[in-house]
Every structure is written in structure tokens, then in C-alpha cells.
């Protein structure tokens, strides 16, 4: 039932009613609203009950194993949530005087330093609000750099076919043409092909390493040499940073600019689709272009930077300071784990991924890159199962829900047919992993003996398999009183 269907005209949640006589005499009659917005008229209890009920119709990390590849669904510490929800933080106006809020600025300043340390890059700006905005910013800085060098013929951005969709989309948002480069059968990009691809039009390349295939590119130094020699710059998509935290630094691999997904690597809650934070880190030569504001420490005081401090900055990305409170959460997470803890994250995220991969291989599943190490994630393909029993990766994904596991990422990377991208993260126990492995093995058994069971799954969720095609064909994006009531 929709909240609107609980609505009764004239009802008000009176505990939230703001007392006071209105004086609207100065507002022109013609400028006032004449219609009543379709907001529900419900009591406070109805609201609490409705949304509590809705929440129970979700899987989350707090309720289920959630091995969604590329998303790093690790435990979001409840302590961080509490610390971030303190009234002093919540009530701080973004334009309030910095003198009154030195603690908060200090935290951001230190976070800049931490991220610089982690990435091996000297410059950091915290303002991008998610990975994809970080990418936009990074590519915009690459462009600004070439422009500053009057190097204006560089119109192409190289992106692997296996890259996340945000990479090509971000490149296009910056006005670049995307040139795709395929992945070799070993999971690496083809260095020889890359060598042929680059040229005077090459603005740069966008890579993740380990890649979205879960493979660490051993020849990354060669790649960086090729791009740099061609006059391009290297962008690092930091979505997979969890795999190498404290192990390898993108700056040391030869990258010039990158973003980090704090909502992945640094455990800020995904919130059903956000918010995130996508700070960027850069090598020295890109520092002048970092977006504002950043935090500097001068004359014993922390303050925001402005255009005056950074005349070459690509500018501002949001009205205020990005997702400030998410930055705070990431800071707290880093403080909790500390330098050693962060490194152990990579160890155990990698351990868990390789363990599942190995056990699935032993059970006869087909890994996309059987001869390679998994980074914190890896790809398996159900091409065989699809062909033999007509059971698709999507069917298996849905059936996993019945076993109490959220499904891994399906059909991504696009280059591998009928695939799962599986990322368990470091916070899941061996027991959870074993349960997941067992479930997959059972489902494969079911696929052989009772494929209908799998193809009509899920059977235990609050709804049965939903019709996505109908959703597009009979587009219904808002509730209308007359139609549905």
C-alpha cells in the first residue's frame, strides 16, 4: 500500500504542527500556490509504521550478505554513525564563520592528508560528491592541464571496454571522445594495442587497477610509460581501492589523478543509492586545477580556499563543501582502523575473494580468468549453465535471494557473458562465505534438476520476479489518485 492510500483529507500530524499566525500580506496574491500538492495527510504513527514496514522490504548489509561486485558492501560501523550524528555537526551551517568551527575544518584537513598518503598523490580535494563526479573532475583537470599547455588537439580519452559505465560517461561530460580498448584473455588490457592506439590526440586513459574484472594489471608501469610518452595523463578509478589499501599506491603506479569512493573503501553507508563522496587526488602537476574549496592551515587557523587561492582551479562542484558529513564519517573510519588496520582490509578482502573463487572453481564453476589471482573481487560466468539448462545469470541471482544472500553484480563487466562480479569484502566471516558457496552449488544442482524453480525465482521475497519490460512499456513514474486508488 502506498502512503497516499493511507491519506485522509484534513488529517495532520499534530505533533509536528508549527504554531503561529501567518502574515502573508506582503506576498502578491497571484504569486501564491492555488493547488494542494499530492502529499499524504497521515498521522505520525502512520508514517512511522508505513516506513518501518517499507524498510523491512529491503535487504541491506545489516540484514544480509551483500557481495555486490565493485560496490564494496562492507560493515558500516554503528559507532561512526553515532559520532557523525552529533548535533554539533548536524546544526553547522555551511557558511558559518570558520572561527567557530575549527574542529570540523581540522578533520577535513587531516582527511586530505590521509588520502594523500593512501593514494601516493600530493594534492587532494574532497568536494566531489560521488565517484562519478570525481571522474568528471579528474578528467576536467586533465583537460585543464592540456589547455594550459596549449595542447588543444587532444580530444580522445581511452577507456577499457570493461570499465565502469561512469568512466566513458564522465569523459563525454568533459567533451572528450571515448576510444575503447578491449581486455585480453588474461584480463589485462592489451599493451601492444594500446601502443598503437595512442597518439597526438590522446588526452589520457581511464583505468582501474585492479580492474573491474578483479585483475591486477602487472604491466601497469608499461601502460603509464606509453601514455605519458604520448603526452597523455592517466586517470585512476579508485572504486576498487579496497583491494590494495596500504599495499600499492596509484601515485606510485604512475597515475596522475584519481578519485576515491569513500562510500566503498571507507565504509560510509550506501543509503539505498547514496550519498557517497568521491574525493580526488592528483600529482603535483595537476594541483593548480583542483576544485575548490579545500582546507588549508595558515596562521594557526584552518580555512577554506577560494578562487583567489587557486586561480586555475576548475572551480566549484556544488554550492557548498560536497558531502561534508560523509567526509567526516570516512575520517572517523580511518581513525578507527588506523594505518595497520587499513592494510589488513586489503589482506582480508583479497583473502575472502580468492577463497570463494578457489572453492567455486573446485566445485566446477567457470571463472572468467582461472589463472589469475582475484583481487578483492572476481568474475564467474554462467554461459555453460545458460546453454545447458537455459538458466541465466539473472535467474541464479534471483534464486540467491531465496538463500538469504543478496546477488552479486550481474552482467557487469559487459564484456563477459552471463557473469557475476563477486566481492565479499573483508568484514564477512568464513561462515557467511561458506553459506554463499554452498548456496551457489545447490542452485546449480537445482538448475539441472528443476530449472523452472530457478527461472521463476525468487520465491521467498515480498514480491515475485518483477516485469521490467512492462515497467518501461507502461511507464508509471508517479501515483495518480484516480488511477490507482
Amino acid at each position: 500500500m502506498l502512503i497516499f492510500q493511507r491519506s485522509v483529507e484534513g488529517r495532520v500530524a499534530l505533533g509536528q504542527w508549527v504554531d503561529g499566525d501567518l502574515d502573508l500580506s506582503d506576498l502578491p496574491e497571484a504569486g501564491l500556490r492555488q493547488t494542494k500538492a499530492v502529499l499524504p495527510e497521515v498521522s505520525e504513527l502512520q508514517v512511522v509504521r508505513h516506513y518501518t514496514g517499507l524498510s523491512q522490504r529491503n535487504f541491506g548489509i545489516d540484514t544480509h550478505f551483500y557481495p555486490l561486485g565493485s560496490c564494496t558492501m562492507k560493515y558500516n560501523p554503528r559507532g561512526v554513525h553515532e559520532m557523525a550524528m552529533q548535533p554539533q555537526w548536524l546544526s553547522r551551517h555551511p557558511l558559518s564563520a570558520v572561527d567557530d568551527h575549527q574542529s570540523f575544518l581540522k578533520i577535513l584537513f587531516e582527511l586530505q592528508q590521509y588520502l594523500s598518503d593512501i593514494t601516493g598523490m600530493p594534492g587532494v580535494s574532497l568536494t566531489p560528491m560521488a565517484g562519478s563526479q570525481g571522474e568528471f573532475v579528474g578528467v576536467a583537470m586533465i583537460k585543464a592541464y592540456h589547455d594550459a599547455n596549449n595542447d588543444t588537439e587532444r580530444t580522445e580519452m581511452i577507456v577499457p571496454t570493461a570499465a565502469h559505465g561512469t568512466n566513458p560517461a564522465s569523459a563525454v561530460m568533459c567533451g572528450y571522445t571515448v576510444k575503447e580498448i578491449p581486455t585480453g584473455s588474461d584480463g589485462n588490457i592489451d599493451v601492444d594495442q594500446l601502443r598503437e592506439m595512442v597518439g597526438p590526440k590522446t588526452a589520457g586513459i581511464m583505468l582501474t587497477n585492479p580492474s573491474t574484472l578483479g585483475i591486477f594489471s602487472r604491466r601497469i608501469k608499461d601502460v603509464s610509460a606509453i601514455i605519458h610518452e604520448a603526452g597523455g595523463l592517466l586517470y585512476y578509478d579508485g572504486a576498487n581501492l579496497n583491494a590494495i589499501l596500504g599495499k600499492v599506491r596509484p601515485g606510485d603506479m604512475g597515475f596522475d589523478v584519481m578519485h576515491l569512493n569513500l562510500h566503498k573503501t571507507f565504509a560510509t553507508p550506501h543509503g539505498g543509492g547514496g550519498p557517497g563522496a568521491g574525493p580526488v587526488a592528483v600529482a603535483d602537476r595537476l594541483k593548480p586545477y583542483l576544485p575548490i574549496p579545500t582546507v588549508v592551515f595558515e596562521n594557526e587557523k584552518y580555512r577554506w580556499t577560494t578562487k583567489n587561492d587557486s586561480p586555475d582551479s576548475i572551480g566549484r562542484l556544488s554550492c557548498f563543501m560536497g558531502n561534508a558529513a560523509i567526509l567526516l564519517r570516512a575520517y572517523l573510519y580511518i581513525r578507527l582502523l588506523g594505518r595497520k588496520g587499513l592494510t589488513r582490509v586489503a589482506d582480508f578482502a583479497t583473502l575472502n575473494a580468492n577463497y570463494i573463487m578457489k572453492r567455486l572453481q573446485q566445485a566446477g564453476f567457470e571463472c572468467a580468468f582461472p589463472d589469475r589471482r582475484a583481487s578483492h573481487e572476481f568474475v564467474i560466468s554462467f554461459k555453460k549453465e545458460k546453454k545447458q539448462w537455459g538458466v541465466s545469470a539473472m535467474d541464479i541471482a534471483k534464486r540467491l535471494l531465496d538463500y538469504g544472500c543478496h546477488a552479486p553484480t550481474t552482467y557487469f563487466p559487459l564484456s563477459i557473458p552471463e557473469c557475476f562480479l563477486i566481492e565479499p569484502t573483508e568484514t564477512e566471516s568464513k561462515q557467511e562465505l561458506d553459506h554463499f558457496i554452498d548456496a551457489l552449488i545447490k542452485i546449480r544442482g537445482e538448475s539441472e534438476t528443476d530449472p523452472e524453480l530457478v527461472k521463476t525465482s525468487p520465491h521467498t521475497c515480498v514480491v515475485k520476479r518483477l516485469d521490467d519490460v512492462k515497467a518501461v512499456r507502461e511507464l508509471n513514474l508517479t501515483w495518480k489518485p484516480t488511477i490507482n486508488d
Partner: protein
């Protein structure tokens, strides 16, 4: 090291099962010279207990003055139910609802949000959120350009728009070579000068941005601007405070009420803005130093395929029962890649969760009351302040719950004084509009009592005196 559940026994067992002896071996594909096991700038880890203690000490330094700053972020009361429910693990720790059957909670909520927000704006459809207001405006402009198939790349943006929105828009849209043309405001009225607007070239014009209220709190001539845009076959993009829309005419109704005739085309002008966007923060989101907030974006049905961001649609399941799912994903980067309507992926789902709960608690009447009381309290304060010698309103147009005042003394000095009394008296406009260097932008919401206004006025008299 927190949050890793493995015991040493288990670690050994897992390695054995894998035929390995050390975790380090799992990293053996990484060239040795790249391995680097040090994080020098990062302190040692601490327990939750210690970190809370450290933080408590830092928090003691953070001031919590009475806040009279608005300027794009507004302190409204947030019912406790909003964040207590939004903080439930099932909302907080879910990902984007890619597996619809395991995400009906979030999906239905977003569908409800889309309904509420579209209706609040008087528009047909709403997406499920963008990052925040300023970048949402940038996306709206990119969308307008797409609607014109990239053939028109000029956009008129009033100078009365929030300066940081201006900056943000420029950063984002200029990468695609879109030209942002400023339109001046009338220095008397504080709103877009319609004369100046009519002088601007309409060549290549994709859209006109119409803020309501504008940065100064003043009410723009939204009807005239909408009509003008439509006359030029450009899109009218409303950039509004959603709280204000509970009280003021919604974008869907903007434009010539009696369907003015477009003389050139000899057709009736369409009523209503084409896109309405803005900052969702006033709807249940705490100030929080500027974020996370959420941008909203609504539009006419016919433009929906040019919309960036996620959309949730109603559908049915195998049994014919109603359910909800992500839809029109072919617009998005994860399917369409370089041809997507935007690169946005992670959005601001949790904030929309809070806003949906907030709007449900307030309802249409309650929300209007919040807007009305906020405005009434602002008017009370302004009326009293302009009685003080030398304090005057700068603009003569009606305002909504935010107002520019000229002071007879250095604004920053007055602000410093008021701050000693525990009051953030507003925003000094010096850094934003040199011509308004002696001006203060002051905002009152429903959270402020008459006594608070007394304290404000007392302090003001003292620091001005």
C-alpha cells in the same frame, strides 16, 4: 583491527583450502617494486570507545549559535521520526536497488518521493535525486541542451541566482561548451530586470534559468520570464526552494495565466516551466556543513527520456502483484555508457528517504504552515530591524523568508559582535556582490521564536550603536 571477523585458525584453514600458506602470496601478481606497506600520515587505530572520547573533546570547541543564515541552506525543524526511521539498517546499508525483489522498500519509497516531488513542483515526473541543488541545475541545463539535440548551446542565467550555483554550473556545463549568459538584476527591485532580459540575444538559446526565490530572497517575475523563454522556444528551467513551493505558485503553473498568445508563432504559450530543479535540503535534511543534501529534478513527461539519474516505475510481478523497479535504465551510464544522459551513478538516496518521511509527516498543510511561519517570522524581524536608524531594505520586491538589509556599520564587525552573543546574524554579501558590500542577507525559519527575534534586535541595536 576492527571489523575483520577471521580467527587465526580460520585464516589458516582458508589458506589451506586454497593451497596457500600466506596471504602475501595472494598479492604476488603485483610487481614487487610497487608494493609498499606503509601509511605514514595515518595514526594508529583506536577503539570505538577512545575515538568517541577524542571526538567529544573536539566537539566541545564547536559553537552552536542561533543561526540566521540562509543563502541556500535552511535550518528547519526535523521531526525525530525522520532520521530514526531513515537510520534503520535496511535503509541505511542497502545499495542502489538493482535487485528489485530485494529492494521493494527503497523502491516504493522512491516512487512515493517521485510522486510527492513532481506534485510539489506541479510537474509530471521527478527523478530519484541528484547530488545537490547547484549541480542539479547544471544537469537541468545539460538536459535542456539535449532536448534541443545539442543544436542550441546558450543559456541565460540571472545574476540574482546564488553565486555558488553560478560557479558550479559554469564548472560543469562549460566542459561541453555551453555558454552561460548572465542577466542583470534591477538594483532597486532585486529581481531580474525584464528590460535587460529582452535585450539579450535569443540566438541559439536553449533555456532560461528562473530562480524562485532568488539569492536575495526576492520573488522573481516568474510568469514573465517563463513566457519570454517560451516565446523564444527555449526551455524555462525553474530553480526553486521546495519549501517555498508549499506556499508560492509552483513551476508547473508559471507563465501567462490566461494563455498569452505568442504573436510570432501565433500559438498559445504553454503554461509552466519545462524543468524544475533545486536543493532538497529544506525538506528534512540537517545543515551538516553543506552536505549530504540532495538535488531534485522534475520535468514534463515529454522530456523524461532526456532526464539524468534514476527513475523508479511501477510494474507487476509474476503473480500480477504491484511492485516497483528501476526503469528507463537505458538512459543511464551503466547501460548506455558514453551515450548516457549523465555520468551520475551513486546519488543521494538516503536524503530522499528522509525527505519522503519528512514530507509525509508535514503533509500539504503542515508544509505550507512551515513556509508561512518562516516567512512571517522573517517579516517580523525585518520590520523591526528597519526601524533601527540607518538599517534599510535594499530591494523593494516581495521576499520569501530571506531579505537583504543595508547596515550603517561594517557588516563583518556587526556579525562578529552578534557572534559573541551567540547569534549568527546572517551572511555578509561583501564577498559575493561588491556592490552590496554594506549589506547583510538575513533569514528566519519557523525554528525561531519571538523571543529569539527580541534577542536578535537587542543585539543588533547594541552592535550598531
Amino acid at each position: 583491527m576492527p571489523f575483520i571477523p577471521h580467527t587465526n585458525e580460520e585464516l589458516k584453514q582458508m589458506l589451506t583450502d586454497m593451497g596457500e600458506t600466506h596471504v602475501a602470496a595472494l598479492f604476488d601478481e603485483i610487481p614487487a617494486d610497487l608494493l609498499n606497506d606503509r601509511l605514514e600520515a595515518i595514526p594508529e587505530g583506536v577503539s570505538e570507545m577512545r575515538l568517541k572520547r577524542l571526538l567529544t573533546e573536539q566537539l566541545a570547541d564547536e559553537k552552536m549559535p542561533l543561526c540566521f543564515i540562509g543563502a541556500g541552506a535552511y535550518e528547519h525543524h526535523i521531526p525525530s521520526a525522520v532520521w530514526q526511521v531513515a537510520s534503520r539498517g535496511e535503509f541505511l546499508t542497502a545499495y542502489t536497488p538493482y535487485q528489485a525483489e530485494a529492494s521493494q522498500g527503497t523502491l516504493q519509497l522512491l516512487y512515493e518521493y517521485q510522486t510527492m516531488m513532481a506534485s510539489l513542483m506541479g510537474m509530471d515526473v521527478s527523478n530519484a535525486s541528484l547530488y545537490e541543488g547547484a549541480s542539479a541545475l547544471a544537469e537541468a541545463i545539460l538536459m535542456a541542451v539535449r532536448v534541443h539535440k545539442g543544436q542550441r548551446k546558450r543559456v541565460i542565467i540571472p545574476r540574482s541566482l546564488h553565486p555558488y550555483y553560478w560557479d558550479t554550473v559554469k564548472t560543469i556545463v562549460s566542459e561541453q561548451k555551453i555558454e552561460c549568459v548572465p542577466c542583470d538584476f534591477d538594483p532597486q527591485a532585486g529581481v531580474t530586470d525584464l528590460g535587460a532580459l529582452s535585450q539579450l540575444s535569443d540566438e541559439n538559446l536553449a533555456a532560461v534559468v528562473i530562480p524562485q526565490p532568488n539569492f536575495f530572497g526576492c520573488l522573481e517575475p516568474v510568469d514573465e520570464m517563463t513566457d519570454w523563454a517560451h516565446q523564444k522556444n527555449a526551455l524555462a528551467i525553474a530553480c526553486v526552494n521546495p519549501m517555498a513551493m508549499a506556499l508560492l505558485k509552483e513551476p508547473g503553473q508559471w507563465g501567462s495565466a490566461d494563455g498569452e498568445i505568442d504573436r510570432e508563432a501565433n500559438t498559445r504559450l504553454e503554461i509552466g516551466a519545462d524543468i524544475a530543479c533545486g536543493e532538497g535540503q529544506p525538506l528534512g535534511v540537517p545543515l551538516n556543513s553543506g552536505g549530504p543534501y540532495f538535488g531534485f529534478l522534475t520535468c514534463r513527461q515529454k522530456f523524461v527520456r532526456q532526464m539524468p539519474g534514476r527513475l523508479i516505475g511501477q510494474t507487476t510481478d509474476l503473480d500480477g502483484c504491484v511492485g516497483y523497479t528501476l526503469t528507463l535504465q537505458a538512459r543511464e551510464q551503466h547501460i548506455r555508457r558514453s551515450k548516457a544522459t549523465s555520468n551520475i551513478c551513486t546519488n543521494q538516496g538516503l536524503l530522499v528517504t528522509a525527505a519522503t518521511i519528512y514530507m509525509s509527516l508535514m503533509g500539504p498543510v503542515g508544509l505550507r504552515q512551515v513556509a508561512g511561519v518562516s516567512h512571517t517570522q522573517t517579516k517580523k524581524l525585518v520590520d523591526r530591524l528597519i526601524e533601527i536608524d540607518g538599517v534599510e531594505r535594499v530591494f523593494d520586491r516581495p521576499f520569501f523568508h530571506e531579505c537583504v538589509l543595508r547596515l550603517p556599520r561594517d557588516v563583518d564587525e556587526v556579525l562578529r559582535g552578534m557572534s559573541l552573543d551567540g547569534i549568527q546574524a546572517g551572511l555578509s554579501l561583501k564577498d559575493y556582490f561588491p556592490e552590496l558590500g554594506d549589506c547583510l542577507l538575513v533569514c528566519v525559519t519557523e525554528t525561531k521564536t519571538d523571543q529569539d527575534l527580541d534577542v536578535f534586535v537587542d543585539g543588533f541595536c547594541r552592535w550598531l550603536g
